[in-house]
Amino acid sequence: MPPTTRLESARAMVPKLELAGIRKQFSFAGKTLPVLEGVDLSVEEGEFVSVIGPSGCGKSTLLNIMAGLEEPDQGTLCMDGADAAGRLGKVGYMPQKDLLLPWRNVLDNTILGPELQGVSRSRARQQALGLMERFGLKGFEGHYPFLLSGGMRQRAALLRTVLAGRDVILLDEPFGALDALTRSRLQEWLLELWSGLGKTMVLVTHDVDEATLLSDRVYVLTARPGRVKMVMPVALPRPRTLDMVTQPAFLSLKASLMTALREEDLRAQEEPWR
């Protein structure tokens, strides 16, 4: 075995992203609200990980910390084994709202990342045009965002995130606002896209089907203050397709996720002061 291969396999042992003991609280009107209370989470290179949990348990806060938009009060965050202090701008992040700039057409929205990094607009446009078809945006390059359907806007926002060229992409309920049919179509599309891109992805979602179908592993968070309640590996074969959602293996995985999520949701309902 040549030594480089051993080295590479050794590097693969270091998680792409590793969070340990993350704590975060917000102070508001003199009261403190503990949101995350010691979250441990790791993501391997090229892995697809989902985070689910009851509403308000701190999923977005966790993602914001990974993106570098927030700093944890306690805990460590490492990328490729090194402390990730300067990670803001180095991690791909797609928020729930598409946040396309209304004064730019679709094409010029998608090239924001390269443009901000100093790539010339014409080169960035060339690169983006090559991906329009795969993102279902062909023919709409010159349209302003407000003319697009919700699904198209999300795809444009995802293309913007992908073109920024980061290894890790964080997705915060990217399909939450879409109708069920569009959502499942985009889930299938995202599956295909992810397997082609080889990116590391972390997805926050409310949708248990979505988490099960897409992920290698699913983290379930407790009701606020959020902790990791359980980590479930999804040992379904890849490539996956939408019709898997009716298979027994899928359904039993989904059932155990549902049970865990329901428990926490009930706790959140019973203890609304938390």
Partner: protein, 279 residues
């Protein structure tokens, strides 16, 4: 290539076809009202035999406008020069001040109180003083116009630069944007509709500013013309000058509105879309 504002991009906007008829309807009402007022005015002056030096009939004013067109043209040109120079300076200083106020917190604390205080000093006090300080030429008129017109530009533009969606700023930061890049690529475009609103007010104020400047001391201009015509009982001439001033202000306002529509097609279309969704 599909750059902003290219033909291809504009083709994407919703069709504006049913607007022609709406346009006609929107102008028919006001036109009829103006016509009625003029007719009533003309009728009243003739019926009661009001002397023309007290209240000239519309026909008398029209005759004066035609008869003295050379005179009116000369004074209109002077006023227009003052207005465009003064407004230009007001726009430049207003935008610069707004950018500095929105970008530098310390500058905001130092400068904004002065900007607001400048509006509390009555112009009737400043204008005569300006005469003492800088004389009778173009300069005092320009200064009066700038002092009146820069304020709506600063206030509106500062509000616009601050009206950004914080989530949009976060998104830009995750794409690696610096503070300056966020300012140029998000804050400035967000502020443009606000800037245009301020400009519409400012350009109208500029005409008023020119008249104030001329009233205090001048040798030409439409404001000057009204001020010398009234004591000479040349009331029709004074009315004619006021009419031209009103037309000037309206035309400049419409020009800015038209420019806004050309420059910000996304904003126009977005608003139309929103209005449609609300109904």
């Amino acid at each position: 290539m599909t750059t902003r504002g290219s033909a291809e991009a504009r083709r994407g906007l919703p069709a504006a076809r049913p607007r022609r008829r709406a346009w006609l309807g929107a102008w028919l009402g006001p036109a009829a009202l103006v016509g009625a007022i003029i007719a009533l005015w003309q009728g009243a002056v003739m019926a009661f035999g009001i002397p023309h030096w007290k209240l000239p009939a519309p026909s008398t004013i029209a005759a004066e406008l035609v008869a003295s067109r050379g005179l009116f043209l000369h004074h209109t040109w002077v006023t227009l020069k003052e207005v465009s120079l003064g407004f230009g300076v007001a726009l430049a200083t207003g935008v610069l001040l707004a950018a500095l106020i929105a970008y530098f917190r310390t500058f905001q604390r130092v400068a904004y109180p002065f900007v607001i205080a400048s509006q509390t000093i009555p112009m009737v006090v400043i204008a005569p003083l300006l005469l003492v300080w800088v004389g009778y030429g173009l300069a005092p008129k320009i200064i009066v116009i700038v002092l009146i017109a820069f304020f709506p530009i600063v206030v509106n533009t500062v509000d616009g630069l601050r009206a950004v969606d914080p989530d949009m700023v976060h998104m830009m930061r995750t794409l690696g944007a610096s503070r300056w890049q966020v300012f140029i690529k998000v804050q400035v475009p967000t502020s443009l509709p606000f800037l245009f609103s301020g400009t519409k007010i400012a350009i109208t104020f500029s005409v008023i500013g020119a008249v104030i400047g001329e009233w205090v001391g001048a040798s030409a201009g439409l404001g000057y013309l009204t001020s010398i015509s009234v004591p000479l009982f040349l009331t029709a001439r004074s009315f004619g000058a006021v009419l031209i001033l009103a037309a000037l202000g309206t035309a400049l306002f419409l020009a800015v509105a038209l420019l806004q529509r050309q420059a910000l097609p996304w904003h126009e279309a977005q608003q139309r879309r929103q209005a449609l969704e609300e109904t």
